[in-house]
Amino acid sequence: MIARRLAVRTLAGLAVAAPWIVAAVAPGQQRYIVHVLIFTALFAALALSYDLVVGHVGSLSLAHPAFFGVGAYTAAILATRAQWPFLADLAAAILLAALVAAVVGVPLFRLVEHAFAVGTLGFALVAWIVATNWVEVTRGPLCITGIPKPAIGLPGGATLSFSALPAYYWLALTALGLVVALYRGMTTFRLGRALHAVRDNEPLAAAAGIDPLRYRMLAFVVGGAIAGGVGALYAHYLAVFCPEEMTIGLSVNLLVIVFLGGVGSLRGVLLGAVLFTALPEVLRLAPTWRLVIYGALLLVIVVRSPEGLAGLIRAPRPARQSA
């Protein structure tokens, strides 16, 4: 237990110190590596929000790109056209994404299992089509450009600016820390138990007095809200946001991270995010074979460890007693 806490603190410390480590080890590559680290932190937060839905209430949603896009567009439009300060447009992005999730969640959760997955897929497609064609608002394929780097006004007139790469990395890491705390709060203790009861056996959960729809909606709305917040951070970071960022491809990436990392497991999802965000970058060294190696690795993991990478690093479970 103590050893584990120490390991967690060491890893957290390494994550915080990463830009300095990179500067010391590979000074020429610093910009590029920190950029990959920022992507990793943002994708880790996004994947955790996705896992709240697919991992903890067991609803295979493919709607996540839509919430990500709603958040990104909200922040981008407010920051560029209305000159809203960063924290205000971030809050608006989170709230609007949550609202959209709450509104579409009610009809979508009337569908079950595969129908639910198809329904959420349809919603994500519609959101993407709207983003592409509602040119007056989103500028469509021309993208929203010139999104400012975030800055937070401090009391006393000073501003905390995140225009430098390491500063933005620490902002993303702070966001990830908050998401981890929320994820842990929701997936353990009484709240987590209620979510897991709904996932494992819905009729029995109802017999225990748990309203299944309420907890599915809770995970869906909180997951959507986080995705909206990550979308806002993403748009501010890249300064540009285009409809292609919210296609089904994003769902595929999230599915790979969550299911190959370890569905329903904080460690697994974090590990998956690190591996599947960094790996494609590392593989750029072998451009011809990049996708082949990537695909082969995915296959190996699926075959060797159906529970995901978390299943490999977890202590072996006690053998099942025969029924």
Partner: protein, 251 residues
């Protein structure tokens, strides 16, 4: 006023009338058994009463509340506990957590205190753990508290499901075939548990196929056949009732 009152309940499946105008009343503290040949509508009646199936007619009253059309979780929170015919546990939760799930929703379900783990919620949790451990000991699963429920044997899971239903201390307990598909030792165990509940003043409504169990422990037996109430009375009278004998064994 009876604790549970079912009036003229009707349930149809694609033209087949599974429950056909059944009246049923259970008084506080009674132990009543519902029996009948396969397909006579016992489990369908259970599912209509507990909100798992919408009924097509009639009313269900429990402690003065009209349960007709209420969702299962609402029925459960009003104090009507049930078990399922097919063994039903949360496979990936531990045995202890299986029981804890059953009490928490009855103890206030505001989200924020649970997310922040306020002292009040922690105190409730500690009490719940104590009660859960007591119940696990009662059904002989005290040493399996930490095991995933999915790893328990069939009989153990059945006992776990029974203990879980007791966790919120329901006013009325509906048991759907607690003795089905378990070995004779466990049948006796189950019988003892149900009898003990009855002695403590609990109200129990039992659906059971095992006649020994029914005749042994029930105060009153209600016989269903083709969705209708065929007979009702003390076990001895039911055993001799020619209509019941005919329904079960044919002429």
């Amino acid at each position: 006023m009876p604790l549970l009152e079912v009036r003229g309940l009707v349930k149809r499946f694609l033209g087949v009338t599974a429950v056909d105008g059944v009246d049923l009343a259970v008084e506080r503290g009674e132990l009543v058994s519902l029996i009948g040949p396969n397909g006579s509508g016992k489990t369908t009646l259970f599912n209509c009463v507990t909100g798992y199936l919408p009924s097509d007619g009639g009313r269900v009253l429990f402690r003065g509340h009209d349960l007709t059309g209420a969702a299962p979780h609402r029925v459960a929170r009003l104090g009507l506990g049930r078990t399922f015919q097919q063994v039903s546990v949360f496979g990936r939760l531990s045995a202890l957590e299986n029981l804890l799930v059953f009490v928490q929703q009855h103890q206030g379900d505001a989200l924020l205190p649970r997310l922040l783990r306020t002292p009040g919620v922690r105190r409730l949790e500690a009490q719940a753990i104590e009660r859960a451990r007591g119940l696990l000991d009662l059904v002989g699963l005290g040493d399996r508290a930490g095991a995933p429920a999915g790893s328990l044997s069939y009989g153990q899971r059945k006992l776990l499901a029974f203990a879980a239903a007791l966790m919120p201390d329901p006013e009325l307990l509906l048991l759907d075939e607690p003795a089905a598909a378990v070995n004779p030792t466990m049948i006796n165990q189950m019988k003892d548990h149900i009898r003990a509940l009855h002695r403590q003043g609990k109200t129990v409504l039992l659906v059971e196929h095992n006649m020994d169990v029914v005749m042994d422990i029930s105060e009153r037996v209600v016989v269903l056949d083709h969705g209708q109430k065929l007979a009702e009375g003390p076990p001895d009278a039911i055993r001799r009732d020619p209509r019941v004998i005919e329904a079960y064994f044919g002429r």
